[in-house]
C-alpha cells in the first residue's frame, strides 16, 4: 500500500518536473527542475530494489553532473539577450507531444507483451555486494575501459576549453 503511494507520488513528480524542464525560459530554472527529476528517478530506482544504482544516481548524476552544469551556466554570465526568445514555444511543445504519441503507444504496446511481475522489494538484490561481485568478475573489462574513457573525456574537456594562446 505504501509502495503504491510512493510510486505514484514519485512518478507524478518526475513527469511534472520533466515537463517543466523543457518549458522554462531561463536555463537556471530548467536545470533546477531537472535536478528534481533526477532525484525522483533515483527514488524509483530504490523502489526497484537497486540500492547501489540509487546511490550512484544521487551522488554522480544529480550531484556531480548537475553541479557542473550549474557551474558552467553561472560561469558563462548569461544575459537576457543571449538567450533565444522562442515565440511559439507552447505550440511547438504541445504539437510535438501529440505527434510523438504514436511512438509512445508503439513502445507501450511492445512492453505490454512482457510477463506481468509484481514489483516488491527484495532484500539484497541490487546491493553493493551483489553489484561488486558482478562488476569485478563478469564485467571487469568494460569497467576498466570506462575508466580510460573518463580519462580521455577529462583530457578532451581541458583541451577544448583552453583559452586561445596569443602569439
Amino acid at each position: 500500500m505504501l509502495i503504491e503511494f510512493i510510486f505514484i507520488a514519485l512518478s507524478l513528480i518526475t513527469l511534472i518536473s520533466a515537463l517543466g524542464m523543457i518549458s522554462f525560459h531561463q536555463p537556471i530554472n530548467s536545470v533546477l527542475s531537472f535536478i528534481v527529476t533526477l532525484l525522483s528517478i533515483a527514488g524509483l530506482f530504490a523502489l526497484l530494489s537497486s540500492s547501489f544504482i540509487f546511490i550512484v544516481q544521487v551522488i554522480i548524476y544529480a550531484g556531480a553532473i548537475m553541479s557542473l552544469i550549474l557551474f558552467v551556466i553561472m560561469f558563462l554570465n548569461i544575459k537576457e539577450k543571449n538567450i533565444p526568445n522562442e515565440p511559439k514555444k507552447a505550440l511547438w511543445i504541445s504539437g510535438s507531444l501529440i505527434a510523438i504519441s504514436p511512438f509512445t503507444l508503439l513502445l507501450v504496446n511492445a512492453l505490454k507483451t512482457l510477463p506481468q511481475k509484481e514489483a516488491t522489494i527484495i532484500n539484497g538484490f541490487g546491493s553493493i555486494e551483489a553489484i561488486g561481485r558482478e562488476l569485478f568478475s563478469k564485467w571487469v573489462l568494460p569497467f576498466e575501459m570506462i575508466s580510460i574513457l573518463l580519462l580521455i573525456a577529462l583530457l578532451g574537456a581541458i583541451v577544448l576549453a583552453k583559452k586561445e594562446q596569443n602569439r
Binding site: P102, F103, L106, N109
Partner: protein
Amino acid sequence: MINSILLALIVLIPFLGSLIIGFFYAFYQDRIKEGAYSFIGIGSVLTSAVLSIMVALEFFQNENLTSMSYVAFEWLHISSFVINVGFFADHLSVVMISFVTVIGTLIHIYAAGYMNKDEGYGKFFAYFNLFMGSMLLLVLGDNPIMLFIGWEGVGLCSYLLISYYHKDTLNVKAGNKAFILNRIGDFGFLIGMLLLFIYGGAGGFTFGALETNVSTVPSAMLTAIALLLFVGAMGKSAQIPLYVWLPDAMAGPTPVSALIHAATMVTAGVYMVARFAFVYNLTPDVGLFIAYIGAFSALFAALIASHQSDIKKILAYSTMSQLGYMFIAAGLGLYSGAIFHVFTHAFFKALLFMGAGVLIVAVHHKQDIFDIRMHRALLPITFVTMLIATLAISGVPPFAGFFSKDAIMAHAFASGHYGIWLISTITALLTAYYMFRLFFTVFFGAREKELHKINSSMQLPLIILAIGAALTGLLNLPHFLGGENQFSNWISTPDKALHLSISAEWVLTTLNVILSGIGIFFAWKHFGRNPQPSNAQSSINNLLLNKFYVDEVYDTIFVKNIRRLSYFFSTIIDVRVISEIIKQSSSGYFRLGVITGRMQNGNVRFYALYMVAGIIGMSIYLLEFL
C-alpha cells in the same frame, strides 16, 4: 555446254571494274592517264558483252534449253524465307543483257572520247561501270529482291551521273529530282513486292516459284500488287505522273543520257512488267490502265517535244513517248512486242543521243537546235547515221522502228481498245513531225560554220549503231509481210495472242506509213528552209512551250508545302517544343537539386526533427493505423 557461273561473272565484272577504277581514282585522281581508266571501264563492259553473247549463243544452239540459273550463295534465311544471291537467265533476260552490254560497250567507247579532258574522268567511268553492273543485276536476278537491288542501284547511278558536273548546283538539283521521283516510284514498288511476298511467297520467292504460286493470291490483292509494281515503273520509266525528272536529267553528260536515259535504265520498267507477266496476265484491268498511261504519256510527250528547242530535251521527251508505246504493248499483253520495241529503240535512241553529243561538241557546247544549225556536208557520218535513226524512230520502213511500232499499234487495234490505237497513231504522226523538225533544223543550215574537231572514237559507235537501227527490224518480220516473228517467238513471253485479218494489217501498216510521210512533209514545210523556234503567241503554244506547267503545279502542290512543313518543324517544333522539353527537364533536375539542397541547412535541430518525423511515421505504420 557452258557453265552457268558465267551469269554471275556477267554481273560481277562491271562491279569489279567500278571498284578498281574507284579505288585508283580515290587515291590518284587525275594524275593517272585517262587511258588507264577508260581501258578498265571499256574492258569490263566488253568482257560482260562477250560473255553475254556466249550465253545467248548457248541458248540459240541448244533448243531444249529454256533457262539457266546459278545460285552464288544464300543471303537471307529467316525461318522459311530464303533469299539467295542467284542469277536466272531465260530467253527474255538473254536478249536484254545482250543488247544492254553491246550498246553499253559502244557508249563506253564513245564516252572515252566525249569526256576527254574532263575533270573527274575516272569517277565517271567508275559510276558508269557501277551502273552497268546494277543493270545486269536487275536483269539477271532470280528473285524480286535481286531485281530491286539492281533497280535501286541504277537509280543511284543515275543520280550520281546526272549530278556529274556538280559544281553547278542546277545539275545537282536535277540529280536530286531524278532520285526523289525514282524513290516515290520505288516506294510503290516496295509495297507491291511486300504484298506479293505476304500473299504469294509461301512457296519461295524466286520468279519461278512465284509464277507457280501466283494463283494463290486473292485477286483484289493481285490487282493491288500489279498496280503498285507499276508505280515503280512509272518512276523508273518516266511515265505520267512521275516523269518530270527525265527532261531535267539531260543536265548530265551526253553519254549518260545515251546509255541510261535512252537505252537501259528507263527500259527497266518495261522489263519488270515483262518479268512479272504472270501477274499482269491475271489482272487485265491493271494492264489496261498501264496501256492508257502509256498512251497518254506518249501523246503528252510528243506534244511537248514539238515545241522544245534544246536538242537533248527533245530527245528526252521522245524517249518518254517511245516508252509510252512500250507500255501500251506491255499493258495489252504483247510483252514480246514491248521488248522488241525496247530492243530497237535502244539502237536508234542511243544513236540519236550520241549524234547529238557529237553536234554539241562540234558547236562548242551549245544545245539549242537553232544555234546548232549547220550544213550536212560538214559532218557527213553524223548526218547519215542520224538520218537512219530519225527515219527509224519515225516509223519509216524498212528501218527498225517501223516494225516494232507497227506491231504494237496492230495489237492495240486488235485488242479492241480503239482509243489507245487512235492515240498511238496520232502520236506516231507527231513523232515523225518533231523528229524531222529537229533533223531539218540541225542539218539544213549554212555551210560556213566553224566546228570543233571530233574524235574518231566518237564516230565509230555511231556507224555500228546505225547498222543495228537499220537492220534489226528484220528480226521480227510479222507474218503478213512474209516473216515468221522470230524474235517474238524466241523470246517466248506469255503473250496474249490476238489475231487480225491480213487485210486489216495491211491497211493499218499503210496508214502508218502515210502518216509518217505527212509528218515529215509538215516538218519540211515549216522547218526545211527557215526554221524558227516556237514562241508564245497563242495560248496553246504557251501551254506547250511551258510543258503544260506540270513542274509548276508539282512545285505548288508538293514542294512548297513540304518546304513549309519542314520549316515549321525546324523552327517551331524543334526549337520551341522539343528543345524546351529537354531544357525544362534538365533545369528541372537542377532546381530539384537546389530545393533538396535547402534541407541541409546546418541546423542540427532540423535534422533531429527529420529523424523524429521518420520515427513517428514508422511507428504509425507499425501500429497498423495505415
